[in-house]
Symmetry: C2
Subunit: 148 residues, 2 copies
């Protein structure tokens, strides 16, 4: 083993990390991007930014998230050092999730994303409706062409 990884253009992992480029598939940055570009991550970190929260509290706030996805999301956020988990030996057991300093820096960059979604949604819905109307025409054209 010479420490060289396939797909990094002959670079070692540490060299690749010194020249990070999300457009290179083997670059670890790609993993990071894949990890954080996720609906539930954005919503969970958005809530934890306001202070620690408990499991079912998060579940109630994030309408539509399943227990499975929440525990999965929290587990991988914890693994990546973005949130921390503390369990209290109460009855029933209480678990508190809070954001780490690292997670807080990510949460900062995620805010504009949520804001963009909330402010530009109407423009997107309009564009979508227009596209779908045009699509109906296209399909009608195709049916006419087929019949001919």
């Amino acid at each position: 083993m010479d420490g060289t990884l396939l797909g990094l253009g002959g670079k070692t992992l540490s060299e690749a990390v010194q020249d990070p480029n999300a457009y290179v598939s083997a670059c670890p940055t790609r993993q990071a991007l894949d990890r954080i570009a996720d609906k539930w991550t954005v919503l969970v970190l958005g809530l934890l930014e306001g202070g620690p929260m408990r499991f079912n509290q998060l579940r109630r706030e994030i309408e539509g998230i399943s227990q499975k996805m929440l525990s999965q999301t929290l587990k991988s956020l914890e693994r990546d050092g973005l949130v921390s988990r503390r369990a209290f030996a109460t009855v029933p057991v209480t678990v508190e999730y809070s954001i780490t300093p690292l997670g807080a820096t990510l949460a900062q960059t995620l805010v504009p994303l949520r804001v963009w979604a909330e402010t530009h949604i109407t423009r997107m819905l309009e564009a979508r409706a227009a596209y779908d109307r045009a699509g109906d025409d296209r399909m009608a054209d195709e049916r006419t062409a087929d019949a001919a």
Copy 2:
């Protein structure tokens, strides 16, 4: 039909859009978030921000994307009015994708995300390694407990 949608707390769609909240599952903002919080979207918009590009040009730049995912991503970006597509009747046909003004505003908010991934990846990898080491111990403990 009174224009009321289920899950919006008795609000009409237009009322929900006036009070957007990504934490409400039926809010269209959630769709927008789900749409834009995507690895390929981040990478494609990041490239188109620098000027129009052609299909295979994008494919070559974004290492690891399949033709299917690229055409799918571009199609839904076009549907949502974030990129525009122009085909030229050359031989073989040439197709040029460019970012729309709306897409440009989104691309702006996506830059910090890519930058975060590129600058914090080492911290994440460290945290992950530490977590996995601890996990090995946990599993060893469980095996010991099982044997007892």
